[in-house]
Structures are given as structure tokens and as C-alpha cells.
Amino acid sequence: MLILECPCCGVTGEETEFHAGGEAHLKRHSVGSTDDQFEEYLFMRENPRGVHLERWRHNNGCGKWFHAARCTMTLEVFGTYPAQTYEPPQEIKDAISAKRPGWSWRNFS
């Protein structure tokens, strides 16, 4: 059972306080997109052994969505950050780089 820190209210809580929400930083494609773009948006997901950027909601707490940078193999948490962003903030990228030099995830590295 993971321990995560909600970047919105600052609470460090047990996994049961949170709800996992799948992959972070998806780009929404809608009307006007090609079938391939729409398929990619709806269905195609990263499934890495290692660094992953994912969405969580503090649903039994402040109710806010946030993102976590986490290693799916060791369960190490590199950091959490608010969901209102298109890419991980530099300090999160730095924290990942410090532990996993040369990491990449989709377009981020």
C-alpha cells in the first residue's frame, strides 16, 4: 500500500485515501482528429517497467487531482505535482534524473 503526498493539500496519506487515474499528460483529441489520433488518445497507454507519470485523485481528502512520478518496479516515488500542467515541472524531472539517469517517458526525458 503506497504512501503519497498530495501536492494540493499537503497531506501525506495511505493509498486508500487516493484513487489511481491512469496515465498522465494525455492530449485530448476530439472532433476533427483522425481515427489514429483518436484511437491513440482513447486506448494507447504506456506500460513501462520503470519511470511512469500517472494521475491520482485525493478522493478521500481534498478531492483534487494530481500527478505522481513513480517507478513501477521499485515503487519509488520521485515526486507529486498538481495536475494543471502539460508536462512535469523541472524539479520533478530533476528528481527522476537524479535516480534514473537517462530516463525517458513519451516525449519527456
Binding site: M1, L2, E14, R28, N59, W65, L75, E76, A83
Partner: protein, 1005 residues
């Protein structure tokens, strides 16, 4: 025979006499006994029959790893199967029966299976019961069910009278295991100043050390243990618990502890078990080691026991396993058993040591006591069936030719010791194969990782592969200090304890005895006692291609019984490795999963049972409904009245009455559970245009509009009426089940996609009681109560208004889910009951009656209104339900719009909503499928539709239904067939789903 010695035991000295009941026999024990030691003291060596062949089985071990001594325990209410005698502390009046035999333990019909053993090889069930298929349901399955599983399940109607609880605990360091290593580790950790929790699964501190002997810092280890316990007890930062097992280690330092508070003293009050939910910064597993059996023919005959267990029973309980005990070993430790028994005046005819070079200093001690030692020898087979009568001696390096028979009534065996690595492994700790000691032990380089990327579990003592006291005491001390510091402790100064060194010869791996044993011997050589798996079974599995240890395990069932292979796994995978011709580390182990040993379902449930299993949501009208005949229906966490039964009325009668009365007079419905979400802000209209398929931003203040919501996948997820309260504020009604999920859905889009839009959402579902006033007399009752103008002119269909009715502050919506003249009236929740009672009283002259959810459903079905969850199931789109009119063509985008353009969504062959009218007027079964000629790829009848809603309509005096049918709207009038589960067929005509008042005249008056 096994018996109580006059010499006494560590745990039983001075204990009061107790009596207990075994299969109806009254037996005596002593306070301090386990059930196992008490049975042995009564010469009850044979304790059960094996699972497959019903062979007589005896007690093998003295701890939690015991595979055979499982009993039914308790009476009726507190009945529990598979209770292990070795960890059950004896109390006065304990009542047990043995398992898996018929008609009796001594004479068992199922034992005939042993003569069939060559017909019950590995994978027998898979091979035997596949064909012919039709026999499966009525012949094979009942047979397997009857044979499967040890013990019997408690009866469904019985209720466990005991209570259980959960307990939350936070600590810096948790040490699992209260043997000398655990005590030392806890002590060292505590010296660093951090908070320490130390748990021990048995009732005693010290583990094996006081039995095995040795010295630490010049003191006998038993005294050293006593001193450590005293020091730890005096430390404020240390919490100690006996009878508490570390059951499992999980992510980020989460540990489950299982404390047994009353199992040994059932007369006490309080919870029986307590589940500890622990967070520890650092965990030290000092879980010890488990002795392995040796694989020789007849190693399951009662009287064959692990050498360490024989020693435990003698020292701790003063119980001898036999008068003449042969010791067989591949290591020096078993010599301690021989020396102990000899010291108690018992006969040890021979120590059979498989190692050609024999043992070290302990072997010399044994010889000095006059014990015969045979090096390089083995047991060819054990003589006896219900009890050992002798062993035949052979050469280990040979094929089992008998050199001589040695008469004995007990065999103490030792195949070496395996560290208990379970807790280390639960959360990803890796193992390495220790060639010198022939066992897997934790690889300190690859521990389970915590949130910071550092290891959070370390290992101490024999669990770490340090089997000698001199080594393990320093190892444990170091582990404790390191854990304390890693958890934030200070750099404590402490002298490292020193154990007196011993000189032992190394263990030699012996996976089969004798080495060249033929098939006859191998098929009597047991690996897994509980699941009856033999050496020959594992070899057959390998031969048949089950090369992965996980596959071989499932095929042979090795290690799959309630003991999870604590004794058998290493021996089994060694045999598998040998059969595959590969080294043991290449074969690897199966996965270790929590809990370490079984824990009670009661402990897992804790306090969450009965009324507190789940919080119940109640509307303000709950009590009134409960005292007015409500037949309750669970709807999520809510309870809603299904119908209101009048005295003497059946549910069916009540529903029919409510349906007719609402259409003819006046019905009142508690609609408070409907979701009510306030959506507010300058961008609220724009936001709702994205969420609903139809246009909401154009809705006028004072008006209501029915809307549909789709997911981004295009599937319908919710529907309801939206009211515009003011320019910036909308009130969105959701389904009962949707209140929380749609609130979450809105928040998700607002927070993660359109976070720059100025909109807030508030869920005010429980702030209001909402009552639907429905039927031709609806307006009359409101006018009688008086207040705001509810005439057609002042408040038209699909309008809402604020005002007062009968003095109550009310918001009135002219909306209808029944097709009747209908007002849905929201009042503050605190006023709900008073307003309801005012309506009931004022409505009496108009025929007012409450109605429940079933009438609600029937009325809407008569109108062809869809219900989320009935007509939709997560694969249905609005177009399937002929709701094209609710899909805005003006809006550029909304959730689901792009998805509706995908090819299969636009497919003209999708199943679409129609009404279904049975030819014989009967009621279609819910979920029934319409079938046509031919079969699909799976050999099933081709299907082209299904029933989504089906009811008996008292108004029409026949069954009514809706369903989804391929090209349904184009097939009006066609009669289609729905087979029932009893093989008969119901014919139904495809009709318009709107049966009642298609023009909508009744609701618009």
C-alpha cells in the same frame, strides 16, 4: 509409544492439569501444552488421514509449518476447520475432531485410494476429468467437490459469536520474530532511541535458542534471553507482543500483524483476534529457519518427525516421541536431538548420517555417549503403517539394498534448515542460493524498496542464513542498529554480544534418500504431506514438460495446501531441478504470498460486520417509510422503498395497487436520492455544453431540460433534468447512482482538462428532500396546501419556480418521469418529513398513496422512458435508444461526439430500442435473448436482441417490456422468440416502446 516424561518441560513445569476432548475421547494435558504436545503425551501420534490417499499421518513439526495435525475445532457457532495442533495452546475443555476420514480415523474407507495410487499420478484430475464433457456437471464435479479440501466449511447459517478488531500502529522499526535474533535486533534498534515494535508468533520469547543451547557473553543462551526480555520490557520506546504474527509485508513499509488474544483463554472477554495495520519505516525480519524433511520411502509414517521438533517436544513439554528413536540427517544439528534424547534416558539405536565424512564436534559428543553412528548411510524405507516399527538401513550412494533392519518406534529426520524468507519476499526482496548451506537466503543487495528508493526490510539471524549462534547474535545486533539509524535513530554505542563458537561440519545436500532410489521407493517418498505429492509426481511433471516451477507446482499441487509448502517447497524444487538437469537457482522458487500462515476471516473483517459492515444512507423519509410497510431495496448505499405494503398485502399486490392509484388518483414518491449538483460560474453554460450531448447554455432561467451524458468513449453514462437557476447557475439532476460518480466526472474534467474555466461544482444531493407528487390529483393537493401558484399558466410543463407550499420553502419542478401531471418538490432536508406528512394528510381526500421504486419503473416503462443501468450497460450509445434528438448538431464538440463517428458506432446493424409485447401477455424474463437460426463461432445460438426492462403492467393487465433488437425500429410488428432457461420459448411482437399516452397529453395539463 509417545509419552510424558518425568523430567518435566520448560513450558509445562508447574502447570495445572487440563482436560480436552479428541474425537469424543477425554484426554489430559498440562497448562503450557500445545494441542500437539498434549496429544503426543497421550500417545496420539496418528492425527489424520492424508488428502488423496487417506494414508495415516502423524505430527511432523512443532511450529506453524505443521502440515498434518489439522483439526476441526469448536462447536457449531464457533466451528473452524484446519486448526493446527502445533500452534493451538491447550485450554481446559478444548474440543477437536480429526479430519478427512470416514467412518473413523482408525478405519477409513478412503484409504483404498492408496491401492489406486498408480492411477492417481500428477495432473490426474486434469487428465481424467476432461472428457466426455457432459459428465462434468453431474458426475465429475460433485465427486471432486466431495473429495476436495481438508476439513469442512462452517455452516452458512451459523454466526461467529466472537468479535474481532483492527488496530492501527505507527512505528520506526518493527522486528518480526522474538527468538534470540529478534530480541537482539530489537534491543539494538531501541538503543538508537527510535520507537520499536517487536512481535513473536508463539507465546514464548527466545525461539529455538534455549532448546538448542549455547552461550552468549558467557551466559547460557536461555539466561541471556531472559535478560534481554527484561531489558526490553523496561524500555519506554519498545512495544512487545507475543502471540502476534507478522502476516505480510506490503508496499512502503505497510505490515499486517495478526494477534491472537483469546484463542488460549476463550473464557476471557474481549476481541478474539486483532489485525494490526502497521506502518514501519524499517522492518527487520528475524523469522528464523524451518527444518526440511528428508525424502526417503515411508517418510510420512506416523512417528517420523523433524529432528528439531522431537527436541522441542522433549525439552519444552517433557514429551518423548518414542522409546527408540533413530536419527537420520545430512547435517550436524540433528545430533543435538540424539544427545538430548540420550540425556533423558531414552534409547537412540542409531544416527544415520548421509554424509560420507560424518559430523563434527557434536558427532564426537554423541559417540562418546555410546550412540552408534553410521556415516554415508541412508534409510531405504520406513517399516510400519499406522506407526513406525523400524527402518531399513542402506548406503546413501546406492539404490536402497537393505543392509539391516533397525527396530525403532520413532524417526527424527533433518534435511537441513531453510531460512524463513517469506516476509522478505512478499514485497519484492530477492533471494540467492547459498551453495555451502544448501538453502535460499535473502540477498541483502536486492531488498524490497520503499518510497525513497531505499530498502526498508533487513534480515537478522537464522532467517539471514546464520545458523550458528556465534554468528547470528552479532548479525542480529548489526541489523537492529542499522535499522534504528535508517529510521532516524542516533549512533548508539553498544558492545556487540559474543556467542561461544561451535565447530560443525557443513550440511551436504540430500534431495533423495538413497541417491539411486528406484521408482518403487520414490513413489512412497513424500514431498508435500498435506497435498499428498510424492517425489515420483514431481519427476513425472518434469517429464511431461512442466519445466517452470510455477507450472509444476500447479500441475502437481505441490505447496498449494494450507501450509503453502513450508516443508516441501525446497525439497520439491530440488527434485524438479534434478529431473530437469539444471542447478536449483535456475529453477527458482515459487512466489511467496501473504499471509505467512492462515489468518482468520474474522480478523480481516474486523468490526465491519452486520450493521456496521457498510454505512447505510437514509433519506429524511426513511423512518416514516420503515413504519409504513416499506419493502426495502438496496440502491448503492441507499435503501429505497421498493413498495409500501399494506397489511396482508403481497409485494406484487402492493405494486399493482400503487401503479393504478398513481395513474388514477395521486402517488407520492420519495425521490430524495436523485443526484443534485450545482454547477456555477461564468463558464457554467460552456462547461455543461461539453458534458451533455444536447445544448444547455441556451436554456432559459426558470426552465428545465432533459439531458444525456456520454463518456469520451461515446457510451451513455447518465441522464437527468437540468434546471437553470440563474445566468451563472445550473442545477443538474443525476441518477441516484450517478450523484457521486457524475460529481467526480465533472471535477475530473474541470481539474484536468479545462482548469482555466471558471466553474465550481457542489454536490447538494443530501441537502434537500425531494418528493414527486404524481397523478391527476397532483395539482389539487398542492392547491389545497396553498401558497405559490402551481397552475398551468404560472408553472408550465418543464418549468420550475421557488415559493412556498403549505408554509414550506419549496422549489417546484414541473417534470414527469411517469407521463402524469407531476411536480417534483425539493424542500430543505430538515423539512422533508414534515412536508411529506402534510402531503399525505392533505392528499387523503384525493386518494394519496406513497409508491416505491418498482411503480416508478413500471410507470416510466409504460412511457418508454429509458433507465440508465437497464437500457444502458456501458456499451449503449444514445443512437441505440433512438435519442438522436438529444444529440446537438449545433455544438462543435461535446464528450462522446467524436466517438460517435467511429465506424462501429455508426454501424446500421446495432441493436436498437423497441417495445416488446408478448403474444400470450406473459412477462418476459429480464435479460432474455432473442435467437434466430444458426450458431456462432462458439457453437451458441445466434442472438440478435435482448430484454432490457420487463414488468407486469396492472394498467394494461399484461407484461410489458423494452429491449434492444438488431434493426429493431425497422421491424415493427415482427414476432420474435425468446427462449427461457427452462427450455420453453416466449414469443413477443416488436412494438413502439411508448405505450401510454404517446401524445404526452396527460403530463401537460
Amino acid at each position: 509409544m509417545s509419552t510424558r516424561l518425568k523430567t518435566g518441560g520448560r513450558f509445562t513445569d508447574g502447570g495445572a492439569q487440563l482436560s480436552f476432548d479428541f474425537n469424543g475421547k477425554k484426554l489430559k494435558g498440562v497448562e503450557g501444552d500445545t494441542l500437539a504436545s498434549a496429544l503426543l503425551a497421550n500417545d496420539q501420534m496418528m492425527v489424520g488421514r492424508s488428502f488423496k490417499y487417506h494414508r495415516p499421518r502423524g505430527i511432523v513439526a512443532s511450529g506453524g509449518e505443521e502440515p498434518n495435525a489439522l483439526f476441526n475445532m469448536g462447536g457449531t457457532d464457533d466451528f473452524e476447520p484446519n486448526q493446527r495442533a502445533t500452534v493451538t495452546e491447550l485450554f481446559d475443555g478444548l474440543k477437536i475432531t480429526s479430519q478427512n476420514h470416514w467412518p473413523s480415523l482408525e478405519f477409513d474407507i478412503g484409504a483404498i485410494n492408496k491401492h489406486l495410487s498408480r492411477f492417481l499420478p500428477a495432473g490426474f484430475y486434469y487428465k481424467m476429468f476432461i472428457h466426455p464433457r457432459p459428465l462434468w456437471k453431474h458426475v465429475y464435479e460433485p465427486f471432486i467437490r466431495q473429495s476436495a479440501g481438508l476439513g469442512k466449511a462452517p455452516r452458512a447459517q451459523d454466526r461467529d459469536p466472537d468479535t474481532y478488531e483492527h488496530f492501527y500502529h505507527f512505528t520506526d522499526v518493527m522486528v518480526v520474530g522474538g527468538g534470540v535474533a529478534g530480541l537482539q535486533a530489537a534491543y539494538a534498534a531501541a538503543l538508537t532511541g527510535v520507537k520499536v515494535l517487536l512481535v513473536e508468533q508463539t507465546a514464548h520469547w527466545g525461539g529455538r535458542a534455549p532448546v538448542d543451547g549455547g552461550e552468549v557473553d558467557g551466559l547460557p543462551v536461555g539466561n541471556y534471553v531472559d535478560n534481554l526480555v527484561a531489558e526490553l520490557s523496561a524500555m519506554d520506546n519498545v512495544t512487545m507482543r507475543t502471540r502476534m504474527m507478522g502476516a505480510g509485508v506490503y508496499d512502503h513499509g505497510y505490515v499486517l500483524g495478526y494477534e491472537r488474544l483469546r484463542d488460549h483463554q476463550p473464557a476471557e472477554i474481549g476481541p478474539r483476534h486483532r489485525l494490526w495495520r502497521i506502518r514501519a519505516a524499517q522492518i527487520v525480519t528475524a523469522t528464523g529457519a524451518i527444518e526440511r524433511p528428508l525424502s526417503f520411502a515411508g517418510n510420512d509414517v506416523p512417528g517420523v518427525m523433524l529432528a528439531g521438533a522431537v527436541r522441542d517436544y522433549a525439552v519444552n513439554f517433557g514429551v518423548s516421541i518414542g522409546d527408540r528413536t533413530v536419527v537420520v540427517t545430512n547435517n550436524d544439528d540433528a545430533y543435538r536431538t540424539a544427545i538430548t534424547l540420550k540425556g533423558l534416558g531414552l534409547d537412540v539405536p542409531c544416527i544415520i548420517d548421509a554424509r560420507a565424512g560424518g559430523g563434527g564436534a557434536l558427532a564426537e559428543d554423541a559417540k562418546a555417549l555410546g550412540i552408534r553412528v553410521e556415516n554415508g548411510k541412508a534409510i531405504a524405507k520406513v517399516k510400519g503403517t499406522k506407526r513406525v516399527t523400524g527402518v531399513s538401513l542402506c548406503v546413501q550412494a546406492g539404490e536402497g539394498a537393505e543392509l539391516e533392519e533397525i527396530a525403532c518406534d520413532a524417526v527424527a529426520m533433518s534435511g537441513g534448515w531453510s531460512p524463513v524468507v517469506h516476509l522478505w519476499s512478499h514485497c519484492g526482496g530477492k533471494l540467492i542460493w547459498d551453495e555451502q548451506q544448501s538453502h535460499f537466503r535473502p540477498d541483502a543487495e536486492r531488498p524490497p524498496m520503499g518510497a525513497t528508493g531505499e530498502g526498508f526490510v533487513s534480515v537478522a539471524g537464522s532467517a539471514n542464513g546464520h545458523l550458528q549462534l556465534a554468528e547470528l547474535i552479532g548479525d542480529a545486533h548489526g541489523a537492529g542498529l542499522a535499522a534504528g539509524r535508517a529510521a532516524g535513530g542516533n549512533a548508539a554505542k553498544a558492545t556487540i554480544p559474543e556467542g561461544a563458537p561451535t565447530s560443525e561440519n557443513p550440511v551436504e545436500p540430500v534431495w533423495l534418500m538413497p541417491q539411486g532410489a528406484g521408482i518403487k521407493l520414490r513413489s512412497k517418498t513424500w514431498l508435500d504431506y498435506q497435498n499428498d505429492v510424492k517425489v515420483s509426481d514431481v519427476q513425472l511433471a518434469a517429464q511431461e514438460g512442466f519445466e517452470s516451477v510455477e507450472h509444476a507446482k500447479r500441475y502437481t499441487t505441490l505447496g498449494m495446501a494450507t501450509d503453502q509448502g513450508k516443508l516441501s517447497n525446497i525439497n520439491g524444487l530440488a527434485v524438479l531441478s534434478d529431473a530437469l538437469g539444471q542447478p536449483i537457482p535456475q529453477t527458482g522458487t515459487t512466489t511467496f504470498r501473504p499471509p505467512y500462515t492462515p489468518i482468520s476471516m474474522g480478523a480481516i473483517g474486523g468490526e465491519a460486520r452486520g450493521k456496521v459492515f457498510q454505512p447505510l444512507r437514509k433519506t429524511p423519509l426513511y423512518e416514516w417509510s420503515d413504519t409504513h410497510g416499506s419493502d426495502w431495496e438496496p440502491v448503492g448505499a441507499w435503501r429505497r422503498p421498493f413498495a409500501y405494503l399494506q397489511p396482508g398485502e403481497s409485494v406484487h399486490d402492493a405494486v399493482n395497487r400503487e401503479v393504478k392509484n398513481t395513474r388514477e388518483n395521486l402517488g407520492l414518491l420519495d425521490a430524495s436520492t436523485l443526484g443534485k449538483l450545482i454547477v456555477k460560474g461564468p463558464d457554467a453554460g460552456k462547461f455543461l455544453d461539453m458534458l451533455y450531448t444536447n445544448m444547455m447554455s441556451t436554456l432559459k432561467v426558470g426552465k428545465c431540460r432533459y439531458g444525456l451524458m456520454c463518456s469520451e468513449n461515446g457510451f451513455l453514462i447518465d441522464d437527468g433534468v437540468v434546471a437553470r437557476l440563474d445566468e451563472e447557475t445550473f442545477l443538474c439532476h443525476t441518477t441516484t447512482g450517478g450523484a457521486d460518480t457524475i460529481h467526480g466526472h465533472m471535477e475530473e474534467w474541470l481539474q484536468t482538462e479545462w482548469w482555466d474555466w471558471n466553474v465550481y461544482v457542489a454536490n447538494v444531493t443530501e441537502q434537500f428532500a425531494q418528493i414527486a407528487v404524481v397523478g391527476p390529483n397532483a395539482r389539487k393537493v398542492l392547491e389545497k396546501l396553498g401558497g405559490m401558484d402551481v397552475s398551468k399558466e404560472a408553472l408550465a410543463f418543464m418549468e420550475w419556480a421557488d415559493g412556498t407550499i403549505g408554509g414550506f420553502d419549496a422549489r417546484v419542478f414541473r417534470i414527469s418521469f411517469s407521463g402524469e401531471l407531476s411536480y417534483e418538490i425539493a424542500v430543505p432536508a430538515s423539512q422533508g418529513l414534515a412536508f411529506w406528512e402534510a402531503l399525505i394528510e392533505a392528499g387523503e381526500e384525493f386518494g394519496a398513496m406513497p409508491y416505491g421504486t418498482e411503480t416508478l419503473h413500471i410507470l416510466r416503462a409504460e412511457k418508454g422512458f429509458i433507465m440508465i443501468g437497464d437500457e444502458t450497460d456501458g456499451t449503449v450509445i444514445p443512437q441505440d435508444l433512438n435519442l438522436h434528438w438529444a444529440l446537438s448538431k449545433k455544438k462543435e464538440d461535446y464528450l462522446g461526439k467524436r466517438a460517435h463517428q467511429r465506424s462501429h458506432m455508426a454501424d446500421t446493424d446495432r441493436w436498437k430500442l423497441v417495445g416488446l409485447e408478448t403474444v400470450d401477455k406473459s412477462v418476459l424474463p429480464d435479460g432474455a435473448y432473442a435467437v434466430e437460426e444458426g450458431v456462432n463461432a462458439n457453437g451458441q445460438r445466434n442472438m440478435f436482441g435482448r430484454v432490457t426492462s420487463t414488468y407486469y403492467s396492472a394498467n394494461l393487465e399484461r407484461g410489458i417490456a423494452m429491449g434492444l433488437v438488431k434493426n429493431g425500429p425497422d421491424r415493427m410488428g415482427e414476432v420474435i422468440e425468446f427462449p427461457k432457461t427452462d427450455g420453453t420459448i416466449i414469443k413477443a411482437k416488436i412494438v413502439d416502446p411508448v405505450i401510454y399516452d404517446p401524445e404526452g397529453a396527460k403530463q401537460n395539463v
